[in-house]
């Protein structure tokens, strides 16, 4: 045996596989209230600690503690709870609709509702959002009618995407929510460009975008950080670290040696790691980053540490690659339960009010679903006119498209 060390290939592994006990010892936590809150205009070099610690506000007794407490009014907390609950109930119902064959595909955000809801609440209506496919909470928080979302899922006559996009790939122009691509991470540098334009036009708006931990591996993620920092763009770049990219553990995206937030300082911009299931902490860091962006101090990279409780999508079976009960052992808990417990600790909430709210949300979802299906499903009419397939390829229909439109009409006319 030679004693000379040799190069070797390191292959990351998740801490537990199916049949093994869940193991989250790798998640480095900071006690609630322990992380200092710097001035939003502090230079990056002085706030690198934000990337290695974890901003948390809610303590084990469900009280809000420390310098990051955003001191939200109970009515705001209640609103946050409502948006999160509605998101979860909407997700569950749509997941079932997929299982019933009513829609072709669905993606839930179960366990990470605080990300979209708290962040959206911390931003202003004029701010532009560039979401990923797991950010339905942004639409819900901005007040999009559930019927509109459902019509997209159904590819029916009221589908905003006119039947062209996979379910969940929503957009909302008036709500300032950009379209979702099927291609990962492309929205990240686009958000930076939007923010650069806001700065060029001297506007007060900021942009925000979201990618998953897995998507940080794409070149577009790095393009975004570089442009954001070079031009000090007023943008908030969020990494939703829900630990999994389909079957692939976050370590394969490079999260093993240093956390994703630490990539910010690598490019010269601040990175903050936050407990993504702590509604108050998520709200607070987003507010901080927005203040930074709005006052010309530039971009912020936020890593939201959370857990993808549900399958990747309706096409996925996570029991093949991770312990079945993983989610129950996730050390940061359930964002909805935590906010609810906080409200109860404040004496501003009760189990009865919670049940009532759940019932209201369920009724809202059910009513919206009844209405949405009257505009058609993929199998039942009314249905979109296939003619519309040839619209919007370009602003004007070209002659080849017009020819093809007529050819399709002939094909369909024949028995």
């Amino acid at each position: 045996m030679s004693s000379i060390p040799r190069s070797r290939l390191h292959v990351p592994r998740p801490p537990a596989r199916p049949g093994e006990a869940p193991d989250f010892s790798y998640v480095v936590l900071s006690p609630a209230g322990a992380v200092e809150r710097p001035d939003p205009n502090a230079p990056t070099s002085q706030i690198e600690y934000l990337a290695d610690s974890m901003v948390r506000v809610l303590d084990d007794d469900h009280r809000a503690v420390g310098p990051w407490n955003p001191h939200l009014a109970p009515s705001d907390l209640e609103l946050g709870l409502r948006h999160m609950l509605l998101t979860r109930i909407f997700d569950d119902r749509m997941h079932r609709a997929q299982r019933q064959g009513k829609i072709t595909f669905y993606i839930k955000s179960t366990g990470e509702e605080a990300v979209s809801v708290a962040q959206c609440m911390a931003l202003r209506p004029g701010d532009m959002l560039f979401p990923s496919y797991r950010n339905q909470g942004l639409h819900i928080t901005r007040g999009r009618k559930l019927v509109d979302l459902m019509c997209q899922l159904l590819s029916n006559t009221r589908d905003m995407c006119k039947g062209r996009q996979l379910p969940v790939m929503y957009h909302w122009r008036e709500g300032r929510l950009f379209s979702i691509s099927g291609n990962l991470a492309t929205q990240f540098p686009q958000a930076v460009g939007w923010a650069m334009a806001a700065a060029i036009k001297n506007e007060d708006h900021v942009a925000a975008s979201w990618v998953g931990d897995g998507s940080t591996a794409e070149a577009d993620f790095h393009n975004a950080l570089l442009f954001a920092e070079v031009y000090k763009a007023p943008v908030i770049l969020n990494v939703v670290n829900n630990q999994w990219a389909i079957s692939t553990f976050q370590t394969f995206a490079g999260g093993e040696q240093r956390c994703f937030a630490a990539r910010g300082p690598g490019y010269g911009l601040p990175g903050i790691r936050v407990d993504g299931n702590d509604f108050l902490a998520v709200y607070a860091v987003t507010q901080w980053a927005a203040a930074r962006a709005r006052t010309g101090a530039g971009p912020t990279l936020i890593e939201l540490v959370t857990y993808r409780a549900a399958p990747h999508s309706t096409s996925d079976d996570p029991s093949r690659y991770r312990p079945k009960d993983d989610w129950e052992h996730w050390p940061l808990g359930d964002p909805i339960e935590r906010l609810k417990s906080h409200l109860i600790a404040l004496d501003a909430w009760s189990e009865e009010r919670e049940s009532l709210l759940i019932r209201q949300c369920e009724e809202e979802v059910a009513a919206a679903w009844r209405e949405a299906t009257t505009y058609g499903t993929l199998s039942d009419g009314p249905q979109l006119d296939p003619d519309t397939m040839f619209d919007d390829v370009l602003k004007e229909r070209t002659s080849n498209l017009e020819r093809q439109r007529r050819q399709l009409a002939q094909e369909r006319a024949k028995p």
């Binding site: 996009q165 390829v393 498209l401």
Partner: protein, 338 residues
């Protein structure tokens, strides 16, 4: 021999090659422990270990670039791009690098990389899970481009691709993974097990790259096609009772012009069918070749059947897809012209 669907046949090709050659490595998103989102690499990591079947970060450019480096260092990488729609982030590495390394180094360096990727529609994938980008790669000098239409060819062609000294982009029509498909979405899918081309040898064999196959001889009209459309064209010709000669290209580039030309000279009529968008699609290249080689033998204008010049829409999947109605109309138009 055993009955295999296309997924199993592709898996078997990689298995056979990994067993024969320790330099063969497989890499891609979710291909290792999980065995691929379409299960094409199922069991390979368990059998050959984590150093030969690598789960990768989600960066298609990185995957192809790493495969180039591995190949230059003597390995034979088989890289999976999870959907052909996601090959674009790797486009620069494929087009500017992979395709030209042999040429720009006067033949001193080469990168025998195989890139496998599922293509085509038919699974309700919407505009970013349904594309057929083969023409974009056929246009690039220095690449071989392959698309099988059945399990037998899939295995034999993938083995040839892995053994090939040049880079191969290997498209897998995902609508054919489980069985043949004649374009009728309402008909229950038939499995490959009841199809002669689902009978696949367990061991090593090759189907040569660059050679088309006449899968149905005929004298009235030549139909040139590949991938999923092979089955649609077969069904249309049968349905019309037309004595059509059907050519399955199997390889897009290099193109087997001789087989096409000989057939068209015999029949005097031709239609070309593919699933990809019509405008500047690969059909245009086939048409140009036929007109160069067979002009004086043609008795009718050549017809092109293809997807429309729009992205692939989710709701109108079957209105977009060039099904039997479109193929049959083209066959009739060709036969009626004089």
């Amino acid at each position: 021999m055993s009955h295999m669907n296309m997924i199993q046949a592709l898996n078997s090709a990689m298995d056979v090659m990994m067993a024969r050659d320790p330099g063969v490595v497989v890499l891609g998103e979710d291909v290792g422990y999980f065995g691929g989102v379409f299960r094409t690499t199922d069991g390979l990591q368990r059998k050959y270990g984590e150093h030969r079947v690598l789960d990768t970060p989600i960066t298609e450019g990185g995957i192809v670039a790493a495969a180039i480096g591995m190949a230059v260092n003597g390995l034979r990488p088989v890289a999976e791009i999870q959907f052909a729609d996601y090959i674009y982030p790797a486009y620069d590495q494929i087009v500017s690098e992979l395709a030209r390394i042999r040429y720009r180094t006067g033949g001193e360096f080469a990168a025998p990389v195989t890139i496998r990727t599922p293509c085509g529609g038919g699974i309700r994938g919407g505009q970013t899970h349904s594309q057929s980008p083969e023409a974009l790669f056929a246009h690039i000098c220095g690449l071989k481009v392959v698309m099988p239409s059945n399990p037998y060819d899939a295995k034999g062609l993938l083995i040839s691709a892995i053994e090939d000294e040049d880079p191969v982009v290997f498209f897998e029509p995902k609508r054919l993974y489980n069985g043949p498909f004649d374009g009728d979405p309402d008909k229950p899918a038939t499995a490959w097990s009841s199809h002669p081309r689902g009978n696949v040898p367990e061991g090593h064999y090759r189907v040569p790259i660059g050679l088309a196959e006449i899968i149905r001889p005929g004298g009235q009209v030549t139909i040139v096609t590949y991938g999923t459309m092979v089955h649609v064209c077969l069904a249309s010709a049968r349905g019309l009772g037309v004595d059509a000669e059907i050519i399955d290209l199997r390889t897009i580039a290099p193109l087997d012009v001789e087989t096409i030309a000989a057939s068209v000279k015999k029949t005097g009529r031709c239609i070309v069918a593919h699933e990809a968008t019509r405008f500047a699609g690969f059909g245009a290249e086939i048409l140009a070749s036929i007109q160069e080689d067979c002009f004086w033998h043609l008795e009718a204008p050549i017809q092109r059947v293809a997807g429309w010049d729009t992205p692939y829409p989710h709701a109108f999947e079957w209105e977009y897809f060039p099904g039997q109605a479109r193929v049959s109309a083209a066959i009739k138009a060709t036969l009626e012209a004089s």
